[in-house]
């Protein structure tokens, strides 16, 4: 059964990443990128520059492995599954920072610092939203959170949860309004000095992360593998694909405010909203 779950995680990641590439209409550019020559910067941190895409990809895989593919069935079935996901989120911020810091060049460094300053406040609403989802389940385990949604999905019971988590999803996949690391305004930021296979791998890791974060959102808010007629994994895939399309659409259609204004929005609007969300969910779960 473990082997089957490993296979399910890897296949979901691969198929989902292909779907994300199609959503972005990026396939010709991606294939061409693999054959470009590599650019060298002066005195880079080689270890982190070469390994950052691999860590990003690994964190997407670890994040997906806590997601139950059928009721009661997850590759990592931990009593603190949601905290494992939280650790992945925190390490993603570190990875993206290191990706921009390692080349030792201005634009990547600006992207790295800008992203770290904006992604750290995004971690707070993320934690509150996930803790709120754990309240009705009375457990930090994602398997229990799926079970708690048999009567009513969290997206209805906790209406603020999914919109707040979509902001987190945009930040973790570097998309649209939250793309402060790789934005076009700083010449693709942390990727500015990157070319060839490394750049293509970084993009693929972003695509894989979109799968991972959408699968988690589908599990926490849309009941994950729960649904009539079709088997559990199919429901999870359908919900994940829908959330991936929604996140990609939001990324393409919502404007990115200047970093200073976004910082104000995050601390003044999003954080109190997530407090409110947690308080309401807590009262309802009593």
């Amino acid at each position: 059964m473990t082997g089957l779950l490993v296979l399910a995680v890897l296949a979901t990641l691969l198929a989902g990443a292909c779907f994300a590439v199609l959503l972005d209409r990026a396939q010709p550019a991606l294939v061409a990128e693999f054959f470009r020559a590599r650019v060298e910067t002066e005195a880079p941190d080689r270890l982190n520059r070469d390994l950052a895409p691999a860590w990003y990809l690994a964190l997407a895989a670890i994040g997906l492995s806590v997601v139950p593919f059928a009721p009661g069935l997850a590759l990592i079935d931990s009593p603190a599954g949601i905290v494992i996901w939280g650790s992945c989120e925190a390490l993603i911020v570190v990875t993206i920072f290191l990706h921009g810091w390692a080349p030792n060049a201005p634009f990547p460094l600006i992207g790295a610092y800008r992203y770290a300053a904006l992604a750290l406040p995004v971690m707070l609403p993320s934690m509150f939203v996930l803790i709120a989802a754990a309240l009705p389940a009375e457990s930090l385990s994602l398997v229990a959170i799926v079970d708690s949604q048999r009567e009513i999905w969290n997206v209805i019971r906790q209406p603020l949860g999914l919109p707040l988590f979509l902001v987190v999803a945009l930040a973790l996949t570097l998309r649209g309004p939250m793309d402060y690391a790789d934005g076009a305004d700083i010449a693709t930021g942390t990727s500015a000095e990157e070319s060839g296979a490394a750049r293509a791998t970084w993009y693929l890791a972003r695509a894989a992360m979109l799968v991972s974060v959408s699968a988690l959102a589908a599990t926490v808010f849309l009941g994950g593998p729960l649904g009539p007629l079709l088997p559990g994994p199919v429901w999870l895939w359908l919900k994940t694909a829908a959330l991936m399309a929604l996140t990609a659409w939001l990324g393409n259609h919502v404007a990115r405010p200047p970093p200073g204004r976004m910082l104000t929005l995050l601390w003044i609007l999003l954080l109190p909203l997530s407090f409110l969300h947690l308080a309401i969910s807590g009262v309802l779960a009593l």
Binding site: P79, V83, V94, N104, L109
Partner: protein, 211 residues
């Protein structure tokens, strides 16, 4: 399932994790960069978190990874900000006060080593069906509530205080008003622009006073 206390694989993993934690901890002082030092320390703590997993404390182990990743990210930003080494890639000396630090390190090592050798560590295997995360929650929000909350509120007050102290705005005007940067040479003229100069960053026209 074999008894985790005498399981040789667990022992081996524990030894490897301990060695990794010590090695990355030592690297903190050898890498010559604030960013590398911060994330070496993060790796060291992550190894300790993994040891927590081996000790049947999943929540504490995983939360250690989470806390340390966020904390070291913040630390890397602040260290680089204060160290005037913008990229954190320029070589710099990471050790100072050699005599004191060697003495402190030796005293701590000998003291802790003696304590470990002289005490009898408890052998108290956790039953597999124990709900350790729920037990931890009941402990934290039950008997240990006062300690937990005191520490939390103290930390929050410290953070608010640090933000207020480092903020430029204040009740009595800007914090840097009238301040002069140090000279580039000993006793020399202040570096940067002088307050009277046109267009300087510290130059302000008179604003109406408050109340």
């Amino acid at each position: 399932m074999t008894d985790p206390v005498t399981d040789p694989v667990t022992d081996l993993v524990l030894l490897l994790l301990t060695a990794f934690a010590v090695w990355t901890g030592w690297r903190v002082f050898r890498v010559d960069s604030m960013v590398r030092a911060s994330f070496s320390l993060m790796l060291s703590f992550m190894a300790v978190g993994a040891i927590g997993l081996l000790l049947s404390a999943p929540y504490i182990g995983i939360a250690t990874v989470f806390m340390m990743a966020v904390e070291m990210m913040v630390m890397a930003i602040f260290m680089v900000m204060f160290m005037m080494n913008p990229a954190g890639l320029n070589p710099m000396m990471m050790v100072h006060q050699h005599g004191v630090s060697i003495a402190a390190g030796l005293a701590a090592f000998l003291g802790l080593g003696t304590a470990i050798l002289l005490s009898a560590p408890p052998s108290d295997p956790v039953p597999p069906q124990a709900r350790v995360v729920a037990q931890l929650g009941h402990e934290l929000l039950g008997p240990s509530m006062l300690i937990f909350e005191t520490a939390g509120v103290t930390l929050l007050a410290t953070m608010v205080g640090a933000v207020i102290l480092s903020s430029r705005q204040g009740r009595h005007g800007a914090a840097d008003e009238g301040s002069r940067p140090p000279g580039l040479t000993a006793g020399g003229a202040p570096a940067g622009r002088t307050p009277g100069e046109e267009g300087g960053p510290g130059h302000h026209h008179h604003h109406g006073g408050h109340g």
